[in-house]
Amino acid sequence: MIKRFFLIASINISLLLISLPILLVYYNYNQQMLDVLTPKNEYLIRKLKSDIVLRYNVTAYNRLRTLYVYKSNEGEFLIYSLIIANKNHYPQAYFDIYHGLKFIDNLPPHNISNTYSTKLMITYLMKAVSLNHKQSVYELGKLYLQGKYVSQDSILGEKLINSSGFLKGHLLH
């Protein structure tokens, strides 16, 4: 009886050991499916938001950011940029505040701007520039060239655009 029990147990253990790699592959596949960031993956979105709000997690911030870029109401992301910028002094978040406030400014009705928003927008863009964030350097150069939100200064604008590493004229509309 005991001999039979050990026989069954050993066969079962061997079977489990053989199937373990298959099960692990299945488990990893499941996890990857869960980690796919799509607008419908509410579970992951909630997890990322909670990581940003509670742990100021920059990785979570960057992942969530990629999703909001394609959202129609991308301005909703502004609050997360504010948290990460204030807590982590993360250059990309500074730039995103600028971008978020500019997004609101560009919404209709046009030609209506708020001085406080504009002030904060430029302050944070400058902060990102001081941290050598290339996209911000380019953006600030563009603003100086256009004389938008800042007083026009073509020389400084050109200088900033050249130093940003972006090709002159690239993205310049």
């Binding site: 079962n12 489990l16 299945y26 579970y43 709000v53 502004l78 609050i79 708020n114 928003s117």
Partner: protein, 163 residues
């Protein structure tokens, strides 16, 4: 006898796999977004605010956001209504949203720029005669919180407004 052993082994094996699969499975909670007053869907309210600057929809959106896990996203709509439509309630909401976000931490999380920004919105709300903004601003002056203490101005602002 051998057949019975074989059946037991297979049964054990299948059970093991089923238990493992159940363990691996993650069941995220189903999220249902409804508005607080159950009148209009939240997406419709957002659309009305952004396309028409609908103040009623904006007020309703605030209630709808009570059901959202991260109410801070409402900041975007408050900023939009304040900046584009000069809506006093929206000025207050910008301040309130930023303040609410900070409160769970029990300490200041904002740099002086963000702090100054939220106070400017509160002041603008008060300047436009928004009662709650006046009361809140008065309270800050009374406590000397974020602003230099000024009990006279604080009382003046708080006068005539009560919850």
């Amino acid at each position: 006898m051998k057949k019975r052993n074989y059946i037991i082994m297979v049964a054990f094996f299948i059970t093991g796999i089923l238990v493992f699969c159940q363990f691996c499975r993650d069941n995220p909670e189903e999220i249902v977004t409804v508005t607080g007053n159950n009148t209009r869907p939240i997406e419709e309210l957002k659309r009305l605010v952004l396309l028409k600057g609908d103040k009623k929809a904006f007020d309703e959106l605030m209630i709808a956001y009570f059901n959202e896990q991260y109410t801070g996203e409402y900041l975007f709509y408050a900023l939009f209504m304040a900046n584009k439509y000069n809506y006093p309630q929206a000025y207050f909401d910008v301040y309130q949203e930023l303040e609410n976000l900070e409160s769970p931490y029990g300490r200041s999380i904002y740099e002086k720029d963000t702090r100054g920004f939220m106070l400017e919105y509160l002041k603008k709300g008060a300047y436009l005669g928004h009662g709650q903004s006046k009361y809140e601003l008065g309270n800050l002056y009374m406590e000397g919180k974020y602003l230099p203490k000024d009990t006279v101005l604080g009382k003046e602002l708080m006068a005539g407004f009560s919850f």
